[in-house]
């Protein structure tokens, strides 16, 4: 790159700049203008604004640290709060269920409880005492070891009886225990609704769950509607009976009798629906699909080196997840600090410039 010689430049500038004489009058004018001029105190004011003391720098540092910690902590707290789970149908007020996974070997989370399930539904005569009526059902796909479908059915039966439920139906096709043959089974289990979620989690221990789906519907409003209709119909029926006692003509008696029959039919239908609803909310159905796979082996509880290795891998993954979660807030905090630094530099430079002008 071609550049002009420094000495040449220096000489030329000296020659150009020294071509005139500096007058002494200018110096005298400056001295006259400056005489009696007190030093400007605004420098102190500027220095108060411009943070140059250790105390102010410490405050700025603490503020920056607070911004950093806040920026990291708030998103992390949000990410650690309970996440909403999609639930099919109406949301049961006392339980969140409806987790669903698919695919072989995927860990299936157990249903999430917000508080203890209700202690059963109390229905006295035609009265409803206020417990929510929850209708729950679901299905679980389990893979068990080769030839272990019958054993799994036995285990499921034991589990359901332990929870005071019953086996509604059971179906199994058991083949020979060769590598190419598979055994399948479908068991429909009915368990008391309050223990349903707990039962679903227990069922998953029988084999390796590949898919879990539970649905809960709050049918309290339907239940209350039916009860109201039955009560109103009974009142109406009673009134028709009173009218019947006062009827004197054949035509009148027949007309009232027709009305009574219609109302009684309506009451019977509603009571039938109420019973069905009561049955559905008292017991929940869980359909368990059993599959015996030659390539799958149900793993027992890990111990020793196996457990240590598993814990180590899980810890590594968890640490990596933590780092990834931290990266977002950290980048945001660094961005904010960068903006603050740029603003601080710009403000400081502007103040210094103003001070010198």
């Amino acid at each position: 790159m071609t550049m002009i010689d420094e000495q040449t430049l220096r000489d030329a500038l000296n020659a150009a700049a020294n071509e005139f004489e500096v007058s002494d009058d200018a110096i005298a004018r400056i001295l006259d203008a400056a005489s009696g001029d007190e030093p400007e105190q605004s420098v102190t004011r500027v220095r108060k604004v411009v943070p140059e003391s250790r105390r102010v720098r410490a405050v700025i540092f603490v503020a920056a640290a607070l911004v950093l910690v806040t920026a990291i902590a708030i998103p992390l707290r949000r990410s650690e709060s309970p996440q909403s789970i999609h639930i099919a149908g109406n949301v049961a007020p006392h339980r969140l269920s409806g987790t669903s996974t698919g695919g072989q070997g995927v860990a299936v989370p157990s249903p999430v409880y917000l508080k203890s399930p209700s202690k059963g539904v109390t229905l006295t005569g035609s009265g409803f005492v206020g417990e929510p009526k929850i209708e729950s059902n679901g299905y679980v796909y389990l893979t068990v070891g080769v030839g272990k479908v019958p054993n799994a059915i036995v285990q499921l039966t034991a589990l359901v009886e332990k929870d005071h439920g019953y086996v509604e139906s059971s179906q199994a096709q058991v083949g020979s225990n060769t590598a190419r043959s598979f055994a399948t089974g479908v068991v429909v289990l009915e368990v008391p609704e309050p223990t349903f979620a707990h039962f679903v989690s227990q069922v998953q221990t029988v084999g390796h769950p590949t898919s879990v789906n539970t649905t809960s519907n709050n049918v309290t409003s339907q239940y209350v509607d039916l009860q109201s209709k039955i009560t109103a119909a009974n009142v109406s029926l009673h009134q028709y009976f009173v009218i019947m006692t006062r009827a004197t003509t054949i035509g009148g008696i027949l007309a009232v009798q027709n009305q009574i029959n219609a109302i009684q039919n309506e009451i019977q239908q509603d009571e039938g629906q109420l019973k069905a609803l009561n049955s559905e909310t008292t017991y929940s159905a869980l359909t368990v699909h059993l599959t015996s796979g030659a390539h799958h082996r149900v793993s027992g509880p890990r111990t020793g080196f196996k457990k240590a290795w598993h814990d180590s891998v899980r810890g590594f993954v968890a640490g990596f997840q933590w780092l990834l979660r931290l990266a977002g807030p950290l980048l945001f905090a660094l961005l904010m600090l960068g903006v603050m630094y740029v603003l601080f530099r710009a403000g400081r430079r502007a103040l210094l410039r103003r001070r010198l002008q």
Binding site: A12, A15, A26, S35
Partner: protein, 181 residues
Amino acid sequence: MKGSTSVDDLATWLEEGYPQSVRTAYLILGNRPDAEDAVQEAFLRAWKFRNALAKESSFKPWLYRVVVNACNSKLRQEIPHRNRRTDDQHLSSVQSTVEAVDHFATATDVASALRDLPDHLRVVIALRYYADLSERDIALAIGRKPGTVKSRLNEARRRLANHPALRDDGDNAVSNEEITG
């Protein structure tokens, strides 16, 4: 120089620094009246804020910072409204220095090329090669980093070397070639 409080001290400042300051301002601004105005303003401003000098590490860069700021104010506010080229005290009117410069480039050519440089490059050239400030002191004077000063100096020298007024003299004007980068 630090902690000066009396007018006598200002007189000392002026005796030591005024001539060189006004000539530096002349190189930056391109005409003498503006240079004298700017330096007068600069000295009065420096005197007004002389308390700030107590915390500065060096007097010379501090004073030149004030001078450069005053020159920049002039460049921003006043000079665009003037017809600089018709001024008889213009840099390009320097004719008597040709004999004084016993080198390849004439003062007139360099002055003409200097006038065509952007303001920020002209400032660093004047401070470095006339006021004889180091790159670090120039950085303090213009409020930039030394690396920026070095870059601007290189850019200014490159532009001067490529300026037509200096290239017309061919080999005489550009006496040194450096291969950089």
